[in-house]
Chain length 254, copies 2
DNA sequence: CGGTACTTGACTGTAAACAGTTTCCCGACC
DNA sequence: GGTCGGGAAACTGTTTACAGTCAAGTACCG
């Protein structure tokens, strides 16, 4: 049974492994957002049967990464700029709360480490003019975990961050707000170091709100900002998820 | 939309119907929280096969109503008071945000209707000393919808409210805070009527925080407040979910 | 009498076949 | 030539069957 599919580790159940792979495929762009997915084709392509695949789809459906229309099929969610704004509002509320809690609950060591990370970011910016995305992720991740609220952590890190990463993929709107981001991060750390939950929440919310306002600005410029992503009907994105080597599956005729 | 939670129609697919029924069974207490459930037994009991049932379970798993341990089984989530506090913190953040948005985005008519609902609550309290739970739900529901943020609506109304209802079932901690609740509702409506988003958010957060503080108070009184609900190991809660009429299935020997 | 190992049983995880519905294409009719 | 109807293919939804794994109960040995 093993050897069949789990080449790496992670995901002790096939369903979880599938969910991860599909998620990755969406990130990669192997599965176009808005595109329809054929269960059969995807199953063959991944080298599994439809049972586990359907369960994996249900999982991702719960995370709003896939959308199902009864008797029609499943398609990859496409975030319009409007949707993105909604998500960012939610994130503002949640991560603001998280930051306030973190200001109260993080240990001094954790705060020191966070401060160190901030300095790294600054150094990276001075050197290359930009800093890696993972650093930003790490920054927010640490603060959220510092809230000591498991549910908050899960909602932010497992649900929202994924969505945002998908969006970043689909429309590479990576504005050059590096300098401002850095300034805002500094304010956040400052408030947290002062152990001031109210101010910590305020600065974090402002930080995220400024990202949202940027998107809204973009929306006003480029038309009403309803779906930028094509509402593709035909594409049938299923293919090209070449299973890890076996069964290349040259289906897809037509 | 119409009723409280349109449990009338909905569920065109078997999987969705199952998810709803299991959810209801958890509310009812037919499925004890913390209890283990057997796929096979539940499937027979509901008169369906394991495929759709497993998908329904995945769905509810995503909503944190069911927990799965690989190769062991699925059990109903049991919210400890600590968990409840976490959920209430999340709700405070989200619904605070929603209320602020609603103060800006609700129409005058909607505000007027909200105010009317508040008066109904007052009248009901004057008469019976208490007002129906549905009224409270309706109140919050309208405000959340008034935020005009679909994702916020979904997270609050489809995820959190269910969880809270499950909790209310499992430990009937229904404190008599009617009077205070009413006062807080009045403050909220007042702020919204003034179209003051900041104050609206603040009052709503205070409203939810006071519920959380009450729970924390209870926790301090009744021990450390780790799981009140028994970590039942044997119960095998599956039975007694008599299928929709057909196939009553008197399995369960042993 | 207690502990350990083995056997047995049930349940989860997975795959494949079956049934119902939708959609699309082609032909006939207006 | 266009439109409407019928039929076929494909896909989703569902059921059934099989294999692997875990847990508990029992028997045997120390």
């Amino acid at each position: 049974m093993n050897g069949i599919l789990n080449d790496k580790i992670s995901a002790q159940s096939l369903v979880d492994a599938l969910a991860e792979r599909i998620e990755a495929a969406i990130m990669n762009g192997d599965l176009q957002s808005g595109g329809k997915i054929s269960e059969q084709a995807l199953a063959t392509s991944l080298g599994v049967s439809r049972g586990p695949l359907r369960e994996a789809i249900r999982t991702l459906e719960g995370r709003k990464l896939l959308l199902r229309t009864p008797n029609i099929g499943v398609r990859v969610a496409s975030l319009s700029p409007g949707d993105l704004c909604e998500v960012l509002q939610v994130r503002e509320a949640l991560e603001g709360m998280a930051c306030g809690l973190a200001a109260a609950n993080m240990t001094d060591e954790e705060l020191k480490a966070l401060s160190a990370l901030l300095h790294q970011q600054q150094k990276s910016v001075q050197g290359t003019g930009v800093y890696p995305e993972t650093m930003d992720f790490d920054f927010h991740f640490r603060i959220v975990k510092g809230s000591r609220n498991a549910r908050l952590v899960q909602m932010l890190c497992e649900d929202l961050y994924y969505l945002l990463r998908v969006y970043r993929r689909q429309s590479s709107v990576t504005p050059d707000r590096t300098k401002q981001t850095l300034r805002e991060h500094r304010d956040i750390v400052a408030a947290m170091t002062r152990r001031d939950p109210v101010e910590a929440e305020r600065t974090m919310r402002r930080h995220i709100a400024s990202a949202r306002l940027y998107v809204e600005e973009q929306m006003r410029e480029t038309g009403a900002g309803r779906n930028v992503v094509a509402r593709a009907r035909k594409p049938k994105a299923a293919a090209s998820l070449a299973g890890k080597g076996r069964r290349v599956a040259s289906l897809r005729r037509r």
